[in-house]
Amino acid sequence: MSTVPENLRYTETHEWVENIGGGRYRVGITEHAQELLGDLVFVELPAVGGQIRVGNPCGVLESVKAAADLYAPISGTVEEVNEALGENPQWLNEDPHGRGWIMVINADAGAWDGLLDAAAYARIAGV
């Protein structure tokens, strides 16, 4: 069973978003997503300082078998990316809510209001 932490919000495309205050949101993929993808071997991260738009692809995740797009869960500016994933893509499998975080987005307050809560995501993902 995948864990779906209550303090996070989610997208239907299996990203999680954490409100870390000051209009900053940390983003990653869910435990369910990494289970679907299998062993991650390559991560293409968005450029720091770049603008991303909700629902648009902003990165690439490749497992041994498949390539998947990373979708922007909210619109904003990429403030920080987890560069260490380049060398350690397996962190996305091992610790998707922790060491496997992907980026921090600077956005307007309330940007995550439209996202799914844990219960809604768990229902959609069937976990």
């Binding site: 299998g38 071997v41 390559f42 497992s63 078998k65 390539a67």
Partner: protein
């Protein structure tokens, strides 16, 4: 079609279905079967087979026993390779393609000689039914006396890796396995009777074991107790691709011939043997075969099924049929069907998500016996 009108698809479950679920397998549909994709980590399973031993449930592959006075005649006509190579060699195995009259590939299979009992062929899951009907049609059309016997009561496990044969010998109480020659089968008395062949689909040593369905979980337990790692379809795919082995339905189909699939070696044109597809194959070879299946190795980017392959001028000349990140080589590798491909050592380009990535052309396999099987050979191409 509205919701609720989903087409009913029969899903087959192997005799190890409960075992897989109890051992944490992630199950996925494959060719009409529910099969394990992995039991936690495809990479760890891949490594286990390269460095130790792993085992796969391959019960979706279907044994078909072919016997009767005209069994040899049927197979000499139906297969591109010649089962006459097996005459007098009880237990010997032969890999072959099964072709249609146009030389297109219906399936690839291994045929085992079983002395007076005739032959056993092992068919791919997705094509087994059609193959069996094809054999039956040939038998009827020619009036041959052949008995075709499907074996739904049998299961199949592949035990693969440098330690696989020794582990299987212990698990099956069959020490003779340690002396079994490559591409040969033997039978044992363990677990109600087993058929064990030194064959596989990983590029490693190992065996494939055919046994009664109800005995399969017992063998799985014995193998696991001895340190063999259960492996899913994910690792099976990355291992076979590193070994340069085609996947039917993906790297080949009825639309292509063995010449176009790096399988010319399965076509035995010696003598006058009349076999299905021979005329078409000879005509295609006489006209010149421009389309071939080549191996590609990339330094950057991971090639995927369907990606375009381009020549030096940026012209599209083919596409990737199978592509993965190779766990053993730590880079992208692929099989690609390409028109007028350069020789091994030459360059092609793969369009990876909009970026043109250079690729080295190689002759598969990519990996053999513990090391990379290609050389970058930059000195030759400069």
């Amino acid at each position: 079609m509205s919701a609720g009108e989903a087409v009913a698809v029969a899903v087959h479950r192997t005799p190890l279905d409960d075992w897989h679920r109890a051992h944490g397998a992630r199950m996925v549909p494959f060719a009409g079967w529910e099969m394990p994709l992995h039991y936690g980590s495809q990479l760890a399973e891949h490594e286990a087979v390269r460095n130790g031993a792993g085992f796969f449930d391959v019960s979706h592959m279907r044994p078909l026993d072919i016997s009767g006075p005209d069994a040899r005649t049927l197979l000499r006509y139906a297969l591109a390779n010649d089962v006459a190579r097996l005459d007098g060699q009880n237990g010997k195995a032969l890999y072959s393609t099964l072709l249609n009259a146009q030389g297109g590939i219906l399936d690839d299979l291994i045929v085992y000689a079983r002395g007076d009992a005739g032959y056993r062929v092992v068919l791919n899951a997705g094509t087994a039914q059609a193959d069996t009907a094809h054999f039956r049609n040939l038998v009827v059309a020619h009036g041959w006396q052949v008995d075709l016997r499907e074996r739904p009561e049998l299961a199949m496990l592949a035990v693969q890796g440098p330690r696989a044969r020794a582990l299987a010998a212990e698990a099956l109480d069959l020490p003779l396995l340690n002396a079994l020659p490559s591409f040969t089968a033997m039978e044992g008395h363990a677990l109600g009777g087993v058929f064990v062949a030194r064959t596989g689909y990983t590029g490693e040593d190992g065996v494939e074991v055919i046994l009664a369905a109800e005995q399969a979980p017992i063998l799985a337990e014995r193998l696991r107790d001895r340190g063999a790692v259960p492996c899913g379809l994910g690792a099976r795919d990355s291992l076979r691709l590193e070994a340069g082995l085609n996947l039917n339905g993906q790297d080949m189909s009825p639309a292509v011939t063995p010449w176009e699939s790096n399988l010319g070696w399965t076509v035995d044109l010696r003598g006058e043997r009349d076999f299905l597809g021979r005329g078409a194959l000879e005509a295609q070879r006489a006209a010149g075969v421009r389309r071939t299946l080549v191996g590609l190795v990339l330094d950057e980017g991971i090639p995927r099924h369907g990606y375009a392959v381009e020549d030096a001028n940026g012209r599209r000349c083919g596409e990737i049929t199978s592509g993965i990140f190779s766990p053993s080589l730590r880079r992208g590798i692929a099989l690609a069907r390409v028109t007028d491909a350069p020789h091994a050592g030459g360059r092609l380009w793969v369009s990876v998500r909009g970026v043109r990535q250079p690729a080295l052309v190689v002759k598969p396999p990519f990996w053999r016996a513990g090391h990379a099987h290609f050389s970058p050979s930059k000195e030759k191409s400069s």
